[in-house]
């Protein structure tokens, strides 16, 4: 139990750190509040290290805290919907036996972005921003792939430490 709490703390701290890094990185789309989704790495890792339920908690904690610290109210809705959608998609892929952490992470990256765009549409009241979806899907794949690779190395390292 104590170990679990420690893990939660580490993941939450990591999530906040990533949230900060993310807030500094500009996105190739002209909509404020849309982020690259780097902090997804924390959720991906958590899903493999702790479990899917714990990953869900972490994904909410990460969104709320980083919204409070680095973004505004609008940012919160963007990232909450991004977080929910990407979590759901990642969970689905996670259940597939033939997919690794990279597949999970790429899926998460893409759906994170799609979720954000959907909220942007709702907030703007028009669907003109939908045309950004293909661009954000590609950037989601790229970010997700990078995150997946890093997560995989982290995971390997963690497993070695555990032995």
């Amino acid at each position: 139990m104590a170990k679990k709490t420690a893990y939660y703390g580490i993941f939450a701290a990591l999530a906040i750190l990533m949230g900060y890094v993310e807030a500094v990185i500009p996105m190739p789309v002209p909509i404020p509040g849309i982020k690259i989704g780097l902090s997804n790495i924390v959720v991906v890792l958590c899903m493999y290290v702790m479990g899917t339920k714990e990953a869900f908690y972490i994904s909410i904690v990460r969104v709320v805290i980083s919204a409070l610290l680095f973004r505004g109210f609008v940012g919160l809705w963007y990232s909450l919907s991004g977080a929910f959608l990407s979590y759901g998609a990642m969970l689905a892929v996670h259940r597939l036996k033939d997919a690794s952490i990279i597949g999970v992470s790429v899926t998460g990256g893409v759906f994170h972005n799609i979720g954000q765009i959907i909220v942007a549409c709702i907030i703007l009241g028009r669907n003109v921003v939908l045309y950004l979806i293909p661009i954000l899907m590609v950037s989601g794949v790229a970010a997700g792939f990078a995150i997946g690779l890093v997560s995989k190395y982290c995971l390997n390292y963690l497993e070695k430490k555990r032995e």
């Binding site: 033939d98 790429v106 703007l124 669907n127 045309y131």
Partner: protein
């Protein structure tokens, strides 16, 4: 990396490419309209999603306009310079066709980039 990872990445990229090239999500004709001004006053506006042809009566002459496929253009005019007729069709926010001799200005409002610009501002 497992086989399914490649499949997932490939499927996502193909979907992105498909969406991009199908033009399914492209903006432009949603709520965009062309506003016609004669001598600085708005005389008419056209919904760019509805194909139509019309005649604008400007100062000292007329301009025939055509709305088609979300774009507006001047097909003919009896002005001396024919600048308006030679202008390419327009469909984006801030684009305009001007007929100086007739004091006619056609401007796009609510076009493609509009709401994003509005948010960034």
């Amino acid at each position: 990396m497992k086989k399914l990872d490649f499949i997932i990445i490939a499927v996502l990229l193909v979907c992105a490419g498909g969406l991009y090239f199908s033009g399914f999500l492209r903006p432009g004709d949603e709520g965009a309209y062309a506003v016609v001004y004669v001598d600085g006053e708005e005389v008419k506006r056209y919904d760019l999603s509805q194909n139509t042809e019309d005649t604008i009566t400007g100062i000292n002459g007329t301009n025939q306009i055509k709305v088609q496929d979300g774009e507006i253009s001047v097909v003919s005019a009896d002005c001396r310079d024919q600048v308006c007729v030679n202008h390419l069709p327009i469909n984006r926010e801030n684009e305009s066709i001007v007929c100086l001799p007739h004091k006619v200005v056609i401007e796009i409002e609510n076009g493609g980039k509009n709401s994003i610009d509005a948010v960034v501002k």
